[in-house]
Symmetry: C2
Subunit: 213 residues, 2 copies
């Protein structure tokens, strides 16, 4: 049975899932959801995700949505394959879970606004709102200060090994590296080294290769 990801090239949540599957060496088929035709709001897709958002996921009888729940499933269901994305040591996985929550609660809210204003809006021919950019640049600063301190203590956010806690950061970070927000990363040596490290993973190179097609 092939693992299927129902998503869209251009969606960071889809990329998050694909990065995890490449890390786990899990073969998958990307089924493109035609969002321009509102396919994600039709009954067939709503049966996969009642909120009508991509990605959705299928692995045999398992159907899931929410990108971070899918990556956790990939990490746990394919624990024996590829990169360990969640530690088998319960004390270590508890720490990784803390930093996975930090990504959701602190990093994603600021960086999703910034990627929207600085990357997606210009791409769609819309005008960037400089006030919103300034507001969320200011919100990102103290988050990256905490990350800088954390990354002096260990190489990755969740500990000494790369994990989902880092992986979940990749798509937004990838985009921000092509914007003026990169200067916030450059100003913090440990954050900067960490960003280069997680963005240079072979699994992520496979995702960005799909983007260029």
């Amino acid at each position: 049975m092939t693992v299927k990801v129902y998503g869209f090239v251009g969606s960071n949540a889809t990329y998050r899932v694909l990065a995890s599957l490449y890390e786990k060496n899990v073969d998958f088929e990307l089924v493109t959801v035609n969002m321009a035709a509102w396919e994600h709001k039709r009954p067939r897709f709503l049966a996969r995700n009642p909120f009508g958002q991509i990605p959705a996921f299928e692995d045999g009888d398992v159907t899931l949505f929410e990108s971070r729940a899918i990556t956790r499933y990939a990490a746990e269901a394919y624990a024996g394959k590829g990169t360990d994305l969640i530690s088998k040591d319960p004390m270590k996985s508890a720490i990784q879970a803390v930093w996975m929550e930090v990504e959701v609660q602190k990093y994603d809210p600021a960086t999703s606004k910034l990627t929207w204003e600085l990357f997606f809006k210009p791409m769609f021919g819309m005008t960037t709102d400089d006030e919103v950019v300034a507001e969320f640049e200011k919100k990102l600063e103290p988050v990256l200060d905490v990350y800088e301190q954390r990354l002096t203590e260990c190489k990755y956010l969740g500990g000494d090994a790369f994990s989902l806690a880092d992986l979940h950061h990749i798509p937004n970070t990838h985009i921000l590296m092509g914007t003026k927000v990169k200067s916030q990363f450059d100003a913090r040596p440990h954050v900067s080294a960490w960003a280069s490290d997680i963005l240079s993973r072979p699994a992520w190179a496979k995702v960005t290769a799909m983007l260029k097609k």
Copy 2:
């Protein structure tokens, strides 16, 4: 070694953690952080949570923060005690993880704004912004529509058994039941029954008893 929760009576994130510990029958000590004295921004607390927010958590050598990471730890580290808050069946726990993410991504953003405007602001002598209330009431409606449909399929959001996916909803839902937003729940019979069910759990009664002291 006593489990310690560093928190504050009046904090929904603290209550989320306490509810999980009562469900697991784990003895704990609540160490009150004096937020009025900015204790949460002092070095000793920042060593527990570098973001300077409550709650923080200690169990022997394990120190954690972020309420939902702490509840997950409680569920996993005390798997043999009290209520099963995460299923031991990986397929079932994957579905529970989906609905835990839904709470974070959909329910919490709307309901945290509503509890702030309708409960905490009046409590602090501040004025409720009716426009914000209207905006987030509107955002909550489609979320509860999906919940209503989901709860026709199974008794709890994560499946047939109560889990962290439900527990994480309790604190905000408890507050909303005392506001005009209750009408949104009343209008949906399955959501209304689910809310009554999760709010009537003995573990939650123990938390609300602390509130009344």
